[in-house]
Every structure is written in C-alpha cells, then in structure tokens.
C-alpha cells in the first residue's frame, strides 16, 4: 500500500509559525556559519601550505648541500714504477711486492707529481715534498694494490686515475677559495695555481662519483675516498634480519592473539605490554641488545646480525599492532561464511582472513622497517657507530657477522668529523638514504596494489 497520499491520513499540515524570510535568503547566523567554514578551510589550506613549504625547504637544502657529494674531481697521473724501489731482486712475487708498505710509494708519487707539474709549465715556489698535498693520501694504497694485483706493472710507467685531496676537490666545486686557504696548512694558494693549469690541460676534471655510492668509509684524512656503499650493505643485511624475524613472529603473534587466544587477564597483559613496547625509546633496545645478544649470547660486536635483532625488537610492536588492526578490519561475515561451509578455524584464517589482511600487514611491515632503517641510537651501544664500514663483507653469509655500520650511523659519523668535505658527504648520504626509503615505500605501494581486494 504505497500509494497512500503522504499527508492524507494525517490531514492538513498544522499551522506552524513560519519564518518571516525565505530560506533562499541567507540570514546573519547562516552567514556566520559560512564564514566559519571558509575560515576553517583557509586554516587547513594554510597548514598544508606551511607543511609543503617546509618540505620543499628541507628537500631543497638537502639537495643543495648534498649534490656535491655525487661529483668527484679526478686526476690522471703517470707513475714510473721503478723496479729498483719496489722489486730490487726482480722476483715479481706478490708476497715480495707486499713487503713495500704504502710509505714506500711516496717517492714514486712525488717524482710523478714533479713531472706532471713541470709538464704544465707552471713556475711554483713549492718544494717537491709539498706537492703531494694535491693528492689524496690514499693514492699510495691505490697504486700498491694495483701493483700487487698485477706484478708485471713493475718497471713500467703506468697511468693511474687518482683522487685529488679534499681541498682541491672543494676548490673545483667552489667550496674552497684562495681566501679560505690563507691560514690552511693542508693546501696553499700556490697549489691552486697548479690546479688551474691541470684543469686547463685536461689532466684534472670532475665526473660522477660512483664510488660514493658503492665505496667504503675512509679515515678522517681522506674524505675524498669515503663512500656509503658498505654502510648500505650493512643496512640491507639488517633489514633482511628484521624482515626474516619480525614478519613471521609478528604475524604469528597477532593471528594467535586476534583469532585464537582466549580473552583473559593474561592476554590482556600481553596486549597492554605490546602497546607499551611500541612507545619505548629506541636506545633502551640498544642496551637490551648489548646485554642479551653480545654479553650473554656471545654474538660478535658491530655485526649487522645483532643490529638486525635489536631492530627486530623495535619493529615487532609496530608490526603486531598493524597486523591486528588489519585482521580486525576483515568483515566478520567472511569468517562466518567460511566457518559456515565447514572450514576449520585455521582454514578460515589462512584461506580467507589472512589474504584479505595482507595489504595492511605489508604496509605495517614496511612502515616498521622504514622506521628501523632510520635508527641510529640502538646501534650506538652495539658498536655499529664509528669507523666501522671500512671493509666489504667477505661473502654473502659473512655479511651478517662481519663488522659493519648502517646508513644513518654513517651519516652521523660523517657529520661529526672535522674536515668540511665530510659534511658534504653527510648530506649526500641523506640523499642516498632517502632514495633507499623511497624504493622501500614504492615496494609497499606495489605490494598493496597487487594484493588489494574489495568486498
């Protein structure tokens, strides 16, 4: 009986007192409400713009300060590898060649520099012994490594690509000027005359700095050689440990708590504890890691394995909370339908609930891992901050236990060092870290797209 007239039964509309004006005309109160809304929108927009402004400012300053690290000045140097200095007996045995330490190459490099400078035709007041300030102090090690790797080089004149010192690099990049070198004992303005001539000659130029992305950390005297590659490997291994442990443990714990566990005092206590653990300062996990993993369990110091275990503890609460939330978000009708057609509880969870929760779990995991990737504080106590990332791990498994640092720890370390060239490298490291994070987040988005289902 839907065709009853709407007001038929109720009779005529009673005479309400009607407003004097039409609703199409806005009154003062409506205008006030509209103004309040417009104001609120403006506040929101302003907040967004302020946020955007600072984001642009931050990214801009990171790029401005850090792009220099991706360029590196290089120089070609013809070195005469005198047999009389390196291998007087002519054995060409790598073991014999290794006996000449890097200090034994100083004279050869000095002679090569004198020839290079003479070829430019620059008249300089510098003594031969001061010329090596132009080059990185790591030059000798480069040449020595090449000689030991290929003993047949001895006796020949070989052209090497070598790195100029950090101040020459800074001069080419505009960071160092003749004025700023006035009191500097590491390089003098006279060196810069030679640099200018070498640039004109084409012996010295700058190019993309791949070794910054792939290289190892260097000592305080050689910022030009420092790279973030080894620290990146360290971060990668830690993330492997975090992913390998916290994902299965976190998901198993949340499924049990959410789907199977009885609701009693004990599980309540666990739930409260997990929520609290998520708020524990990260340094506390570092102390725990030192006490439990290194001193009690006897795991090595400075190892990504231990770092990964500590960060696992840090990430677990985040993953558990995110997983439980996404399990809870699966509509009960799905569970009920599965149980209704005779699935066991476990089948219902693993065949129906869990697949629907995967996007949420993945998001939580990636957020947790991104958080862990940026942590420095817990690593301080387990020996991963310092001059650590100086060797590539020997093998794939070795990567877990050989001493290594992590990207944020490496950035912190560089920011502390005296030579301003390390500062540039620290900003460059931030760019690499951001790209690493961006890739991780991109993976999270892709995984979510892949598994996302609607009902």
């Amino acid at each position: 009986m839907t065709d009853l007239p709407l007001n038929g039964a109720a009779g005529a509309i009673p005479d309400f007192p009607r407003p004097a004006r039409s609703i199409l005309e806005t009154d003062a109160r409506t205008r006030a409400r509209n103004r309040a809304e417009a104001r609120f929108r403006a506040y929101g927009l302003a907040a967004l713009l302020v946020g955007l402004f600072f984001l642009v400012l931050l990214l801009g300053s990171i790029l401005w300060n850090g792009m220099g690290a991706f360029m590196q000045t290089r120089m070609t140097l013809e070195v005469e590898l005198l047999e009389s200095e390196l291998d007087p007996e002519g054995t060409r045995d790598p073991a014999v060649l290794a006996e000449t330490s890097t200090f034994g190459y100083g004279d050869l490099i000095e002679a090569a520099l004198v020839r290079t400078v003479a070829a430019t035709g620059v008249q300089t007041g510098l003594e031969a012994g001061d010329l090596d300030d132009l080059l990185s102090s790591g030059t000798a090690a480069r040449i020595r490594d090449a000689v030991i790797a290929d003993p047949s080089l001895v006796g020949q004149t070989v052209t090497f690509d070598v790195l100029p010192s950090s101040r020459v690099d800074g001069y080419i990049k505009g960071r160092v000027t003749r004025e700023s070198l006035a009191n500097d004992k590491n390089l003098s303005p006279e060196h810069l005359d030679i640099v200018d001539a070498l640039v004109a000659q084409g012996t010295l130029d700058r190019g993309f700095n791949l070794s910054f992305i792939t290289g190892a950390d260097a000592s305080e005297k050689r910022p030009e050689e420092a790279g973030i590659g080894v620290a990146m490997i360290g971060s990668f291994y830690m993330m492997l440990v975090v992913l390998g442990l916290s994902l299965p443990i976190g998901v198993a714990a949340s499924i049990y708590l959410e789907e199977f566990a009885p609701k009693n005092r004990f599980t309540d206590l666990i739930e409260v504890n997990i929520a609290n653990l998520a708020a524990v300062p990260s340094i506390v996990y570092g102390i725990l890691g030192l006490a439990v993993f290194i001193q009690f369990a006897g795991l090595p110091q400075s190892a990504p394995l231990v770092g990964g275990l500590v960060l696992t503890l840090l990430t677990l609460p985040t993953i558990i909370i995110a997983t439980r939330a996404s399990l809870r978000a699966v509509p009960p009708s799905i569970r009920d339908a599965a149980l209704g057609v005779g699935a066991s509880k476990m089948q219902a969870v693993f065949h129906h609930v869990l697949p629907l929760a995967v996007p949420g779990i993945m998001t939580g995991t990636i957020i947790g891992m991104a958080h862990a990737l940026g942590e420095t504080a817990p690593l301080l106590l387990i020996g991963m901050v310092g001059f650590v990332a100086s060797n590539y791990p020997g093998g794939v498994l070795d990567g877990f236990t050989s001493p290594n640092s992590a990207m944020p720890a490496q950035i912190y370390e560089w920011a502390k060092r005296a030579d301003p060239a390390f500062y540039e490298r620290a900003w460059g490291g931030i760019i690499v870290l951001l790209v690493f994070l961006l890739v991780m987040n991109l993976m999270a988005v892709l995984v979510r797209r892949r598994f996302e289902r609607r009902w």
Binding site: S101, T102, S219, I249, G298, L309, P403
Partner: protein
Amino acid sequence: MFHVKHPLTAVALIALATPALARDNVQVAGSSTVLPYATIVAEAFGENFDFPTPVVEGGGTGAGLARFCEGVGENQIDIANASRPMRAGEFETCQANGVTDIVEVRIGYDGIVFASQAGGASFAFTPEHWYNALAAQVVQDGQLVANPNTNWSQVDAALPDQEILAFIPGTKHGTREVFEERVILEGCESTGAMEAFVASGMDEDAAEEACLTLRTDGLSNDIDGDYNETLARLEANPTGVGVFGLAFYENNTDRLQVATMSGVTPSTESIASGEYPVSRPLFFYIKKAHFGVIPGLKEYAEFFVSDDIAGEGGPLAEYGLVSDPELASVQQVVADETVMTAPAN
C-alpha cells in the same frame, strides 16, 4: 603448531641457538680526540697488512675506559683510546673485572686551542683571563666575590669589548680535565683566588674544587658533543669563544681564528717545544690478555707507534698530532708488552 607467546622469548631463543663467533678484527673505542688518529692508523693498517681494518668507535674517554674495564674476552673491546691518563678508580674497576694486565701506550701530544669566529675580534688570552671570566668566585680588591665580569674588557682592558660567552668541553671529555688543570687551576693560583680560598678556611682539596667551580649563569656553556657542535654554536653566536683541538682548528682555519695563550700561538712546533702551555698527552690502553687471541692486535699497536705512522712527518703529525719525543721508548713498551702500574690518583 608452535604458538609464540611472547616475541622477546622467541628472539632470545634464536640468539642463543647461534654459536659464539670468533672475532678476527681489532675492536677499539674511546676518546673522540684520539678517534681521527685511530681511524687514520686503522685504515693504513688495513691497507698494509692482511688483517681486516680495525673497528674504531668514539664515545669519549670516560665511556671508552668504562667499556674497556668491563672484562676480558672476545665480546669486549681490545683497546681504549684516551685523551687523559687512566684514573686510579678506573684502574681498580679494571682489576676487579679481571682486566689485570694493561699496556699503556702514549702516542703523542695534542694541543687545545681557543678560537673565535673568523672575522671577529681577536684574542690574546692568559690563564688568569679565563679564570676571571668563567669562575664562580673571583678575587676583587683582595676580597672573594661572586664573579661580576660579563664583558672580556672587564677582565682585562686589553681584551676586546665583547660579552663573555664561552663554549667549553663537557665533563665527559678528557679535554675538560686539561682545560681545568692547565687553564682554570693555573689562573686560580696566579690571580690569588687559591690563596683566598685557603685563607677562608678550606683545605687544599676543597680550595681546588672551589677553583674549578665555574659560573652557572649561562656565560660558560658545557658542550657534551664533539667539536663540530662547538663550531655550530660559535656560528650561531658570533661573539662566542670556543675550545677546540688543534687538529680540528687546522681543518677549519677558514671559519675559526685562533687566540694566543700567554703570548704563544698554538702550532705543532710550539707544542712540541713546550712553549704553548695547554697541551696534553694522548694514550691508548691495550688488554694484554688479548695479545695472541685477537689476530692483528699486537701488529696494530706496533704499527700505531712505528716511526712511519707516529713519527715526525708521518700521517698523524700531518693531521695535527705532536710526535712524542720519546717514541722509541714507547715502541719498546709495546714490543715488550710492559704492563702499567696503578696510577697515583
């Protein structure tokens, strides 16, 4: 199915299941002043020997020695870097924890410089200036009074007319101790404040303590971080004066100008000759029990003090270390693994 009751227990189980792994690299921690030198040596060591590059951490002298004294074993560090000698208390902690045989190695000397922002007023300090500027109580007209000075020109008319604002190393740094001993205490004695404290009925220790009590009204600031933090504070406060290591200053001569102390400009030469008063020896401490257990430890220690590295003209001297005139005897100490005796204080 194995239900994980608590995530922590599961992780601990995995950790326990992994066997203890032998360490094949030297592990060093300690003073942030020695850190640059140690990294230079560690890098050269890795290049010239078949051993892996040692791991060098910072953290400060006090923290490094505390870790050093925790015990002997592969889980413990082998070497602690220090910018001051080990204290008697630290030595006792070491002994109590089984670190009984310790080899003390002096690697050279390091100068502490006072610097202000480049382009600002230049300073010529004496220890008295610093005492009168920073102490809580100073002598004025023969009386001990709460420090009234707020401007360097009040301390000495020859100093620039500039507000006092000092950034000095925090108490966890070994540098602080040298600053106190060579500058504040010296100034306390020569301004007569020491005498005045003793005359007011204090014994010598209490008077010394009173000397080292610095003003807390914000004109003297402790920096617990590294020299880069001090530099950043100077750049934010152009009228400030900061305390730096010589090597740090020499890397940042474009941003800092150095002050003279008692008329001497700090340099490796003036420190080596003993003219520049504020310098201190740098050390590292080795656990003798780790020799022969940790591969490369002995070689690293010997390499550190070799003439090529720590001698004049070597990479450490180039970076700012003042070579030890008695390097040969230090080399002998390392070669013989001579164990140190208990420090006096």
